[in-house]
Symmetry: C2
Subunit: 716 residues, 2 copies
């Protein structure tokens, strides 16, 4: 469906002269999928984020959503092409609230802010810089705007006013106090302005609702559906110290099993390679003399092995010679920057990884340093310059924006082609990446920010690991552990710790093997939390299935589910997990916190106390309790915890029924490790409870059986 | 003198294809002034920093400098014009040290760093953002490079390496410790790369030495010579609380005189106007009912009045209607952004200021908020968007970079045309602004950074006020006061303090008129420091005369005077003042500090102890002492302190002679308030000391006499 935009002609009567700006006279408007409209103006750049999207839109699922309705006329989106680049203006209502721009840190509600979403490891005073920025925002009025550019764009979210001569001031006098000085009568701006310098045209994707949740569903489905990680990826990941050798890793593996602490993945940090900055992608035989056997042994004990690396190819690497002419014209740490835009370069990189690692049993990678750090050390910047050139024709600025995506794509497709699922770590991402099972992480380590990033990631088809390293106090360790348990990936990153942080929170003492006096008690407390994570896996896995099949983010801000409740507009420290669970994590600051519960009734998971929604409460939560609330009407299946998840694992479930009228809960069942579910090889187990009796209705094409409901328990 | 650069043709043999980048085939090379070479390539932008330079080059003075010599061939500067913009590459020797980029905070030696010098109030992790950034760096090898652009450029200062296939690695194995992981073998980069997106050509100014000091001299002289502020500007400036009325200001003025605390300038903060955010430029009659009489009264008591303002014109302002069509297409706080690039707009703004304020006796302005703050408050950004358009044709990005300059130019020229000197405060600046008598300031308030900024400002023809506000402790107050006394402008900014900070360092108590128990003792200590400042005025004023006539920065990093001493390459907390004084300010952290003294012998000003240079010492300095060292051979004239400086002030001097062989010191004498010195109406008083006798030799065309040498004192 195409129709033609009106001719846009802008006249600036300024300085007695007349300025004519001919915007692209016709902006082409195309409906590209159910509820997704593309505006095209001028000559859009080739290497846009959508150009790299790995999957086709899931149009059937999108078609099932209620029909969208924009709160403005699509023709009122204005696109001007100027000598500077492109200026896009999107109508904005005074009452609207805006969210998104990817994995933002330091801000949540973006209304009124100026944001420059640039890939960078550094949130820098909330300019918009972050590991996974996105030229994409959503409105609580039920639509989303994605400016499909890999250039550095700036979004003015209703913070600019024009010199139209129509200024009306209230006659209120400004106050006399110093505090009142900065008050000013800014008119409510009627638009979001997006400045994209250096381009000759642009595509703008408009995602319809009608509700905010539907907008996110459409975005994720349009991107190919949210990622469904390998089921073991929802267990515990532990990254060992960077200089551990294979004996030391083996000892750590034994520690977990001997102490009944669940663990699914062990991550190896830089020293497994002969060269790390830049990377050789060659096993360091001093540390891992029998690496393939080591992998097999670990796997036999239920561990998956994940390898740290980055994409900058060391001269010592076997990949160096074949990639030299398929790389950018600048080096990073003497290493090549492969031109992943060129599929022949990606293939070389991927095939080497496949043969050398994946076929030998490596289950995933941690793809580090693709985030354009500002760091400079020893006269070397940590990334390539923005004016870099690549054989494919992409430049350094664009490559910065998409590097995390094309790197993920290269690595993920190794697994996809082998029909083997994975769960990756990645340091950078961008738009249309919902289908990658990869979790972002950072060095910033502020706990409140880490909670906020769980929430912000849900607006953008991203996953975020609030990883635990060292801690300031036991309280800090336990609160961070709770947050890790209630996130997409539960990750302890001990890359500079000899021992798990729960045995010693202090870095120096930890590395001297000096344990805390109460180490065993703390270990027991952490074990409880990690066991809860394992109990939650079936519920979480189903939430991820909803992410894939329906586009529903497994972790979401309250405003996504309650877009009309002004009390949630600025809540950046509570979030929904799956259908009926609300998390309100605590930091080390206090053992209690304010929790706002939206409309409906809610149950404190720990005390089972019932709370009426629409109000705020002060709730106390212990270290081994979970700061979660269950919505009335929810059936919550919790499993008997297992220590790790294998294809054979069967989960013994207790179904907790909250309230009188429980809604059906759909449990997703498949093999957990292949992509066969994409061909229908999965089951839905509908759990329902009526008249004092729980029932399980199973439908679908998967032959196996992973779940056994052992018990129903009603909470009222 | 013009000659033609070789044809530059770059071939990238990448990916089997051949990339042709036609750089501008001929870069025109012009010698524009003695020791200043301009390279022109492509179609340079119109609104470059040099376009706005207010003065003609002082070519006669430049011609007197020793002949320059570049350490590379001028043709080896490469300028490529690409679709992205312009890339400039300048040769760089492995041993070179680089400095500059304007008023940088957080970094000093710029070698190896990536810098994006953008006007912004926010140093943001040392990206290069600052109040007065500059596309200008200098090398200790004796040259400076200025890329004459108002676009956002990025400088890679030897931190990038190219993919040339010529990588040679040492065979050293990387270490096993975590700390060694990040070591990498970066090759010494052979160039500085400057990425200027969005332009079609560029001018590059190369300033020759031979010495680093000569480079700075040439830069300042080319910009029209360094500023010589009104002599009273070197006294003490005190900014009163924002909501003081004229009685309260009068009381403050009485306080200074009654307590024998020197003060030359009283600054009024926002509330003197009827509207401040944005500005009306209209006296608030509730606060200043008889403002013109008030100014006269203050002047009769020896005070100069400085008015706070910014350039964003409120709808209530009489300037609003005439400027509406001469302003940008966006508002800031509902206020117009005047297009100061258009001289008719500048003239309107200036004439109004002249008639309303300057001719009524206002001696200067504090030009605030021209620094492109990222702040957003109440849904309004603190500046105009980068995609703004102005009637003159300049865009928002360029306007951000030059706004501080064109604003200074508009205001300064009011005074210049009236043949009256001033000393201004300004919040933003850029290149070729050496001739403006305006001092920069900030809200950042880190004392170490404030010291560093005195030093960095000297590389770029800027002045910096390390202003004193509240303090954490008496030590903090005293150490900050010492630094203020040893800077271009001694400023106490009490815009939110009811009383001077030396009576109460705590904000809340200060505003409740609760004074410290030892307030009078602290006041006495501050008085001593401020009296020292007044003693220093003749020496400082002569240093500023050298700045104007010879281009020598009055405040300079040690590396400027000692460019071959590797021990000073990274010293960012010691600096030269005038010819023979070295300052090494302390912060509240300690009462002693390490001081490196370069070659020669030095005298501790306080103890008169002699130290051999080329070494580091730990020196203790009291609160009322001054952390300064005098170089052997210096004649230091110190005046009996006066409370303020008027055209009639006569300074009674004691000349301190340090060492056996004193060099002649040239004291500059003029009326201190007009530009008549530019027509030769000044004297040089040559002070010399030989055979136990001091002599004064006076030459020049100024009829008056300001200095009387009362005493000579020899220190050995």
């Amino acid at each position: 469906m195409k129709f033609v935009n009106r001719i846009i002609l802008i006249l600036f009567f300024l300085h007695g002269r007349v300025f004519f700006t001919f915007a692209q006279p016709t902006a082409e408007i195309t409906r590209v999928a159910p509820g997704v409209i593309k505006l095209t103006s001028g000559k859009p750049e080739q290497f846009s984020p959508y150009y790299f999207c790995n999957e086709k839109p899931m149009t059937a699922a999108m078609g099932k959503l209620p029909e969208g309705k924009l709160p403005f006329n699509i023709q009122d989106i204005r696109i001007d092409i100027t000598e500077r680049g492109v200026l896009v203006e999107i109508p904005l209502d005074k009452q609207e609230q805006l969210y998104g721009f990817g994995l933002q840190m330091g801000s949540f509600n973006q209304k009124g802010l100026r944001k420059k979403p640039i890939v960078n490891d550094n949130p820098s005073h909330d300019l918009g810089y972050t590991h996974a920025p996105m030229p994409f925002y959503v409105s609580n009025k039920g639509y989303g705007i994605l400016v499909n550019t890999s250039h550095y764009a700036t979004f003015y979210c209703g913070s600019t006013a024009k010199n139209t001569g129509a200024i009306k001031l209230s006659d209120g006098k400004s106050g006399n106090s110093v505090a009142e000085l900065y008050k000013n009568e800014s008119p409510a701006s009627g638009y979001v302005a997006v400045d994209v310098p250096g381009v000759q045209g642009v595509e703008v994707y408009v995602f319809e609702g009608p509700e905010l949740l539907n907008v996110l569903q459409r975005y994720n489905l349009f991107s190919g559906g949210g990622a469904l990680p390998a089921m073991w990826g929802l267990g515990i990941k532990y990254r060992v110290k960077a200089d551990f050798n294979q004996q030391q890793v083996g000892k750590m593996a034994e520690y977990f099993r001997a102490n009944d602490i669940p663990c699914d993945v062990l991550g190896l940090e830089p020293k497994w390679q002969t060269a790390a900055y830049s990377c050789s992608y060659v096993w360091n035989k001093d540390f891992f003399p029998t690496h393939d056997q080591f992998i097999d042994t670990m796997r036999s004990k239920g561990y998956h092995i994940n390898l740290w690396e980055h994409a900058f190819v060391n001269p010592k690497s076997p990949l160096y010679a074949p990639l030299q002419n398929k790389s950018g014209n600048y080096l990073v740490w003497n290493g090549l920057v492969p031109d992943f835009v060129d599929t022949s370069a990606s293939k070389l990189f991927a095939n080497y990884h496949k043969e050398t690692f994946v076929l030998k049993g490596i289950s995933g990678f941690k793809m580090d340093e693709c985030d354009n750090s500002n760091l400079t050390m020893g006269n070397a910047t940590w990334s390539f310059p923005e004016h870099s050139r690549f054989p494919s024709g992409i430049d350094g600025e664009q490559m910065h924006q998409v590097f995390g995506i094309v790197y993920q794509k290269a690595v993920y497709n190794i697994y996809k082609e082998l029909n083997t699922r994975t769960f990756l770590d990645v340091r950078a991402s961008n738009a249309f990446a919902s289908s990658y099972p990869a979790s972002l992480y950072s060095d910033t380590y502020d706990h409140h920010e880490y909670i906020q990033m769980i929430i912000n990631s849900g607006f953008s088809g991203l996953m975020w690991s609030p990883e635990v390293r060292e801690s300031r106090s036991i309280a800090d360790l336990m609160r961070r552990s709770q947050t890790a348990v209630l996130s997409a990936q539960t990750l302890y990153n001990s890359w500079y710790l000899q021992n798990p942080p729960w045995l010693q929170i202090n870095i120096d003492k930890n590395n001297k093997n000096e344990f805390m006096e109460n180490a065993k008690a703390v270990e027991a407390d952490v074990r409880k939390l990690l066991n809860f994570r394992m109990s939650l896996v079936p519920y979480l896995y189903s939430a991820f299935a909803d992410y894939h099949l329906k586009g529903i983010p497994p972790f979401r801000a309250l405003v996504v589910d309650y877009p009309d409740d002004p009390k949630v507009f600025n809540i950046d420290d509570e979030y929904m997990i799956g259908q009926g669970m609300l998390a309100a994590p605590l930091t080390a600051e206090s053992d209690e916190r304010k929790v706002y519960l939206p409309a409906g009734n809610w149950y404190d998971f720990n005390t089972r106390k019932k709370y009426a929604g629409g109000q705020e409460y002060v709730i106390k939560t212990g270290y081994t309790d979970l700061p979660i609330f269950i919505k009335e009407g929810t059936i919550l299946p919790l499993a008997r915890p297992v220590e790790y998840i294998s294809p054979d694992t069967r989960f013994e479930l207790t179904c907790y029924v909250y309230g009188e009228q429980a809604e059906t809960f759909s449990l997703f069942e498949d093999d957990g490790v292949t992509f066969d579910f994409e061909k229908g090889k999965y089951n839905i187990l509908n759990l329902s409870y009526q008249n004092g009796k729980g029932t399980v209705m199973k439908t679908g094409g998967f032959k196996g059986s992973r779940f056994q409901v052992k018990k129903w328990e009603v909470i009222r």
